[in-house]
Each structure stands twice: as C-alpha cells, then as structure tokens.
C-alpha cells in the first residue's frame, strides 16, 4: 500500500465516524460548533499519532497476553498529557470539551488502530496511519460541528452568517435543536447518508 493511500483512507474509505461508526460519543458530544469539533479532532489526532508511534516501537517487546493493557496504559498516558497541556494552554477549549477529553482513552479508534495497525506495521506507516485516521476523524467532527453550528446558531467558526430572521430581542431565531442532543443524532444520520452517496459515486 502506498503511503498516500495509507494516509487518505482515513478520510473517506475508512473514515472512523462516517464509515466505521467508531468514536461516536465525542463525535456527538462535542460538536456543538465547528471549532469544538476541530479541537476534539486534533486532540484525538495527537493521541492517535503518538500512541501509534509508541506502540509500533515497542510492539515486539510486549507479550501477547498483556498487549491490550499495555496499549491502554500507553494511550491513557498520552490522553493525560493532552489533558494537562490543554488545561495549561487552552483552558477555554478544555472546559468546552469537558468530560470527553479523558474519554479519548476509550475511543475505539485509538485502541483499534493500535491493535489493528500499529502493532503490525512499521513506525513510519503507523505514524502516517495515525495522521490519516486522526485527521479524517477531525474532519468529520469539524463538518458535523459546522453543520450543527450553522443550523443551530446561525454561525460558522463563530462567524455570523445572518441566515435566520431576528426575533423581537434582536437575537437570531435559530433551530436550537441542532445544538442539543436530538440534532446531533439527526445531523449525523443524514451526513452518513450523504457520505455514503459520495463514496459510492467516487467508487465508480
């Protein structure tokens, strides 16, 4: 497999969110806006790349029976690092993402990639794979966040789009549902349909 393919599969063909349906909790939980989605995506990418790197480095040193616990410890360490770093340098975003940062640890993509890819491939491929999957995940979250932000708040990356009529108090009448739980599910459902269609078209 060429490295480019290795990298790009994470965007469409094996996109974690739209195709593999993994890591759904953060996907739904934090995407009230594009910027939150992107932040979460990048944080996950960091963990993914680093854990892929470390796992592929130490893979031969780890006995099979403790493979999973070892991987979990490695991943959890990087998650904690992200937690600490974000708390220190981007506290606002950290507060927004809240519980979902520690939950990166149980994000099936991270462990899944460590298991399925990094523990079988060399360091370079593993890093590329991590970047591809991670950025694909980040892209998915940003798109979902963007859609929900546009419909639910009438803005994108905080930029007012002036899509919705203003009410008596001068606030835009947006479809609040989309920043709430039901909107997350519904928006993701339709996005998956759309991506499926695109994937099918491009496959031809």
């Amino acid at each position: 497999m060429s490295q480019w393919k290795n990298f790009s599969k994470g965007f469409f063909k094996e996109n974690a969110v739209f195709v593999l349906f993994l890591g759904l909790c953060p996907t739904l939980g934090v995407t009230t806006s594009a910027i939150n989605g992107m932040g979460m995506g990048l944080a996950t990418t960091f963990v993914l790349v680093m854990s892929n790197l470390v796992v592929s480095l130490v893979k031969s040193q780890i006995p099979d029976k403790v493979r999973i616990p070892s991987f979990i410890v490695i991943i959890a360490s990087f998650v904690t690092m992200v937690e600490l770093l974000m708390q220190a340098y981007v506290p606002a975003l950290f507060e927004q993402l809240g519980l979902f940062i520690p939950l990166i640890v149980v994000n099936c993509i991270v462990l899944g990639r460590a298991e399925a890819f990094a523990s079988k491939n060399n360091v370079f491929s593993s890093i590329i794979d991590g970047f591809g999957m991670g950025l694909g995940f980040a892209m998915a979250l940003t798109i979902l966040g963007g859609v929900r932000e546009i419909l639910g708040s009438g803005t994108i990356f905080g930029l007012n789009l002036h899509l919705f009529p203003l009410d008596a108090d001068g606030n835009p009448t947006t479809m609040i549902v989309f920043v709430l739980a039901p909107g997350a599910f519904i928006a993701l459902g339709y996005l998956i349909v759309l991506i499926n269609k695109i994937n099918k078209k491009s496959a031809k």
């Binding site: 006995p63 070892s70 410890v73 490695i74 360490s77 770093l85 708390q87 340098y89 506290p91 609040i176």
Partner: protein, 192 residues
C-alpha cells in the same frame, strides 16, 4: 523480531516497565504544567473580577474572605484603588438553574449597587438559558448600575423588576436568585 512469550515474569515486567515509564513521564509533565494551569485559573478569576468591578490597583484574589451561605460558600474579592474600596466582586451561586448549578461573579460598589455581572459557570441550554452570558446576549446588562435596594431582583412574573430572558424564565429566576444571594450576603456582613 520474535514476540516475547507470555510468561508470568515477562508479563509483569512489561507492564511494570510501561507503567513506570508512563507514570514517570506524566509526573514530570504534571510538574511542568502545574504552574501554567494554576496561572491560567488565576487569570480567569482575575479577569472575571476585573470585569465586574471598577478599576483597582490591588490584587483582589489575594485578599479574599469567605462566608458560608445556604450550604455553600460565597467568596468575596475586595478591590481597592489608592487604598479605598472601590468595589467587591462576589462569587455567588444558585442551584435553581434549568440544569442546576450556576456560578456568577457579581461586582458590587460599596453602596451595594451592582456594577457588573459575569457568568463563571453554567450548564443552561444553548440558545435558551445561555443567553445570560454576555457572549450570547446583552440580557444581563439590565442589572448594571441598579441598586437592589430599589431595583427588585425578581423577574417581572414574580413581581420583580427584571425582564426575564424570553422562554427562559427558569434560568432568569435562577440568575436573580444568585445575584440576590450575593447582595444579601454582601449587605449583611460581607462588607468589610
């Protein structure tokens, strides 16, 4: 490269190694980030204080005093300029929000007039209750410059003077509740 066998010793050793390295690295990173984390928390606090009280030249966060009210504590941050008290920021709370706990920073002038209010923490619904924050709407501006002695901190529905956020009476009530609590505590004994 041959895989290591899953013998007891190997397993324990491997895990031990990994946990050792991991914890050492984390511990180290924690030490490194401890400072910045504390700093950023402080910065947030100071920022909130600065927003709600007139200009000052002391460090209010270093002169705090506390008061237990309704099962929780209110924290007072007096702000001085030229050694005269120009205002006091009160970190107050309510549990009556639509989604429970709301944490406000209310700035009082020495006579009890509200100078400004900022929301520290809330879980109210986006698009509804979250209009109490300045980022979302100017609703909370109506408190500025009002003295609760003559301005009744209750929503109009409860025969007060506060116009509730449309469709979010509950959040508005809670907000008033927190401000009122701060005001009462401040007047009762919080003034030093």
């Amino acid at each position: 490269m041959a895989k290591r066998e899953s013998s007891f010793l190997n397993m324990v050793l491997t895990l031990l190694m990994i946990t050792f390295i991991a914890s050492a690295a984390l511990g180290y990173l924690y030490e490194l980030t401890k400072g910045p984390i504390a700093a950023s928390k402080l910065a947030k606090l100071n920022n909130a204080i600065t927003q709600v009280v007139p200009e000052f030249d002391t460090i209010p966060s270093s002169e705090i005093y506390k008061m237990g009210v309704d099962g929780d504590t209110l924290v007072f941050y007096p702000a001085m300029k030229d050694s005269i008290l120009v205002g006091t920021a009160v970190s107050t709370f309510t549990n009556k929000g639509f989604s429970g706990y709301i944490n406000l920073m209310v700035g009082f002038l020495p006579d009890g007039t509200i100078h400004n209010i900022s929301v520290l923490e809330h879980k109210e619904t986006p698009g509804l209750g979250d209009k109490m924050t300045k980022k979302k709407s100017d609703w909370s501006v109506q408190f500025n410059g009002k003295n609760p002695a003559e301005f009744k901190i209750k929503v109009t529905k409860d025969r007060g003077d506060v116009d509730a956020i449309t469709a979010s009476t509950i959040s508005s009530r809670a907000f008033c509740d927190a401000v009122d609590r701060a005001y009462k505590a401040y007047m009762e004994g919080g003034k030093k």
